[in-house]
Symmetry: D2
Subunit: 392 residues, 4 copies
């Protein structure tokens, strides 16, 4: 385990708690006391402030990188050197360039690589994606993911150089991969439009952004990200298809409401802002946030010699989309997604969905109005004229 911070602890809780046969054997931290504390807390045999040493230990089977963004590349390269399987927290790189170098390095080294995008492993997401893939929503038109909260936990997040960006990079990477999964990971993202601003925090990076990602088949991904949201951690997805709709609330409204005058309460949930009044705890954060199913997939894939659902390649695609978002926020135009490496379909076109009514007309809409009549809206195939028929 590389990194003993907030996310490293979340990972450790999940790794050692869930499958009950996986064990952290070596911990690296930039500060000795943090490494030692982590080793004590999680019963880890070896701790160090030397990155290579932590990786090279013979008892290490897989290296889990939960370091600040600017240290990912160095750590990955060391894994390649020592031929260790590697799984890395999100985002993979600070930009597409960095991500591509890591992708190429692990593939050249032939080592197992996993991208720790937990939010496509939440139980709700998994079930929803299944429904989408079974066709319950028809053709997907739009997939939005929103992650907003009052700001991240560690200092380096707030530093442009170390983090590589603000909330777009920190949170947008989740949202982009969620939308991309609903729309189809083999469908090429084509261009991005993004608004970003620093509205509240005294920082250089953006603290609020909204972006649209257009895919080759005409579907639209949307991300809404912010470090300025008040009220807790807002994690919601919405998907629209020709045959249905999905709404997922992963954190703030999950069927668990608590009111308390404030006696006796302590930690409620990640990024909750209050300990009294109406609170919305989550039953099991590690599970609801996808950590359990993510590590299960990673370790099972390693054992089976297969690929996990999320690899460095996915991390690379996400970085390239976010790069386009940053360019668009500056240029104020739609910006193309530059993907040197693309392994999905190409040349996909937008579906035509004219619904046949009779030999002369397409059906536009059919409905029952509030005063009881049944209405049909039709379009003449040759003239294009719209007409209305009421059927009592």
């Amino acid at each position: 385990m590389l990194g003993s911070g907030f996310i490293g602890r979340f990972y450790a809780d999940s790794i050692q708690g869930y499958r009950s046969r996986d064990k952290i054997v070596s911990i690296y931290s930039r500060r000795k006391e943090s490494a030692k504390k982590f080793a004590d807390d999680y019963n880890v045999g070896f701790y160090t402030t030397n990155l290579e040493e932590a990786i090279a230990r013979p008892e290490v089977d897989v290296v889990c990188i939960s370091l600040p963004n600017h240290m990912h590349e160095e750590a990955v390269m060391l894994c390649c050197k020592h031929q260790k399987a590697v799984i890395t927290t999100k985002p993979l790189g600070r930009n597409g360039e960095e991500a591509r170098r890591m992708l190429e390095a692990v593939e050249k080294a032939g080592i197992f690589n996993g991208y720790l995008e937990d939010l496509v492993y939440t139980p709700k997401f998994i079930k929803a994606l299944e429904s989408v893939q079974n066709g319950a929503l028809g053709r997907i038109l739009w997939a939005k993911s929103r992650e907003t909260h009052p700001g991240p936990h560690s200092d380096w997040f707030w530093d442009m150089e170390l983090a590589g960006g603000g909330c777009i990079l920190d949170l947008g990477c989740h949202c982009v991969e969620i939308s991309r999964s609903y729309i189809g990971k083999d469908i090429k993202p084509v261009e991005v439009m993004c608004w970003a601003d620093t509205q509240v925090k005294p920082i250089d990076a953006e603290d609020h952004a909204i972006g649209l990602v257009k895919y080759e088949n005409g579907a639209i991904g949307q991300f809404e990200v912010s470090w300025t949201f008040r009220g807790g951690l807002d994690l919601r997805d919405e998907v629209m298809g020709t045959e249905g709709t999905i709404w997922i609330n992963s954190f703030l409204r999950t069927g668990f409401d608590m009111f308390t005058t404030g006696k006796g309460a302590d930690y409620v949930a990640e990024k909750a802002e209050s300990n009294s009044g109406w609170l919305f705890p989550v039953g099991d954060e590690l599970n609801e946030l996808g950590y359990n199913h993510m590590f299960m997939d990673m370790f099972n894939a390693m054992e089976n010699g297969s690929s996990p659902k999320e690899t460095f390649y996915d991390g690379y695609v996400v970085n390239c989309i976010l790069d386009a978002a940053y360019r668009s926020a500056k240029s104020k135009q739609w910006e193309p997604v530059k993907l040197d490496i693309w392994r999905g379909k190409t040349g996909v076109t937008k579906d035509s969905h004219l619904v046949e009514f009779d030999k002369d007309h397409y059906l536009v809409k059919e409905e029952v109005t509030h005063y009881g009549a049944k209405k049909l809206i039709l379009k003449n195939k040759t003239t294009g004229k719209i007409s209305e028929r009421t059927i009592e």
Copy 2:
């Protein structure tokens, strides 16, 4: 009353039902049988297919225009000619040009004019706006409004020429005025970015669009509109401020859930798609959709000789914002909002919100982490360096 269609009937139900002293005395419809049926249903003394005749009747105090978009201007001009107070359904015009002509005409004629934007009159909106104006949310950063459903009721909506546009014009006018109200109607909308597409329906106009409206103070309005949504009428607003958040669901989740196997059910709610399974009726549509409070405001304003909350001027501003949205959807760039007439503030700038921590630092963030510690993220005032302090 001009127009006997879906919206005309909604208006009539509200006008005659609520204040209980207002009376429809004259009804115009393009088709005689519709005019007659309306007159019968609502006990109206006079019906006609002649627009001017309907307006000119001496017993008419105020003309309520609920006609297709392309007929608004003609009807408004006749009201000016006959010096009748006029209230018009949304959108005011098919574009800013048309709206400006109507605005200038009614002001020149000196007649009472009201813009029937019902969704800023819903009980929830009124209460929410009050909270925002009282400062419960601090400075407003973002205000989104979403209106999507499976498509409108009448044929003319689907005809580009008659309607002037698709779901942007039909639904976006609501969303834009909602966001604008939360942000402040005296704050100038500056530019718009919009994506629009025809994804499902066999029509020329857009059936799905998402837009961002930037205001002079840095706040962002957002609209999400569609005629392709499945599941009913989705009407939701979200507002983020520096001190709080508001979420409003006006139609599909209002605390009224019904499951039925389907026996005995008939009309559930506007644009509901099903009569069995889980349904989400609305207690009192006319009230929840704002019709009652809207007509109350209009008629009270008329009686008091004051202006209603929404006038032709507001309709004009909305049209200009939507014009910019249409231009942006084509140009794929942010497009300026062209407002020849602007009566609000000018030269407003973005607030600076640096939070003082001590003489050397700004406070970026303060929080309690999931393992119990209290963390402060600070920024050095001179070096800009970010640092972290943990307080046990």
Copy 3:
């Protein structure tokens, strides 16, 4: 208007706000300064501390009693004496005996009488009852109503003698009439089982109670009432029928969520407990609590010479049911509802609902299991034996 307290003001807001042609012309209060303040606030021409004087004024068409429970009877008798139409807040009496005297008096006097049970006039309830009456839920099996909050507003509520009881009388009257309406107001309530206790408040009356009311057709009404609930005003109904289910949340979850750090907020909603954190305001309390539709029904009925939906007779039935609840809380047994006056059906029996499957079997249940098979549970008509068939 008799009474200038909390409920009197709610009534006044609704009466003068909604229909816009009804006017309070005379106000009685026990304290002169309260009467005067009310008169000033609501622009009432006459105020007094003399009950009879307030009633007898010639310009008074209808007397609205919003007095403490122990004063209802006296006020009603004065209305009879002066032949004034009378509408009375809930509960009608402190017990069935008192209610019966009032009922007999107004009927003997031949005056219009209305029972101000607002919660069967909420927009949600009205719509839900319509669905029930249309058969959307099939045969009604159970109808629960819950009203709990942190305690009432005025001192007299807490005094056994003046109020006649605790939360059973104060809140149970609502719940009982709601359940009774869903089950059918012509179905006779037969017996009641009730638990009641004083768990928290330093009072003699009960502050928490749960009761079951059995109806002649086998349906069950349930009430849950408390003055010890923390979190606001919890108003929920649930109805189960053979074909469906209704869940109504009238106050705390109505599609309006607000988070605020607490700046700028003041009055949120009736009986809300906090001004910061997550709050759940109601768009329009007067409307959501049924006041508008209630007074509309009352005044329309008066004008039409018909009966309102809720009369003194209904108030009397409710009082008799609550009497049985109080007896049961003491005797710890089911207690019969003693109704000297009953105007509904008699001799109704429980429906038999055997579902025919084939000539030898009844169908107990049909379902699709989680591993894909279809199962039928059947009962042999003659042997009564239960069997199971799986259809792949």
Copy 4:
């Protein structure tokens, strides 16, 4: 594993899926083809229709009983004979008598025993109980648990003799243990009042029941159970304390809403009634229903030589409470809970919670009214008189 039915398969999915090191080695079923199919599906080495043989296998460490109720005792006795650890599905016995014999047998045999009450192991319940135990709700006044659905899966449930009862036994056992846990498992249940009826199904057992359980400290447990509910599986808990409230919805409203016109959907969730319209899937049923955490606790306890959270003793207490419920449904009175074996506290009395205001008064209530004033309701300590003070 004894039993290959619905619940057996749920258990197997959880046991073999979660900890990833536990293995089913022997399966018994009453029907050979079922045993074989289960063995094939779950890769079980041995199958049999001989109960004792299945238990006695040397490779069996722990016997998991998921048999119909009437076979529990026989299976438990065989586990005692062969000295095998045993975990049993709920309810433990068909009545307290049977449960007591099993409890005494396993304790005499000195074997590990666990009671598979999954619903006190759901992530939400665990978190909620933690909050309750930390005092977030103050003193617990009332704890309700509701489980209703359209009826169970297997034939034997519908047979009085085999099942031992109807929905009280099947579902009430869950609800009773949930309430009991919130109130405190060391607080003695004293008496029970219960209504039960057969309202819809053509069976002898009850298909709908509501019960109240009074505890020695004055707290009230409540269960609402039914096999006649329409709309899916309704699993909700509500807890009221002097300082707070908890509402848990475990199945039908968990932040996952899906609308579908019905193409492509198949199994949605346990006991869902529809495949189109608005559906409410659960992300991960095994986890949400508590199976994962339950088996984790059972196996960890076995390995540590400790007791699991739920043992045969808990199953016995639950059975005794349900026995009292059945007696009460017949006698129409509160019936005492007969507990020959009681290991918790005795002689607990109701807390007094008089809140001191000043030397002469108790505080009854403090609030801000809707017209802005602050009110105090006070009670004189000596006279008991209630008074009101308004503070502007």
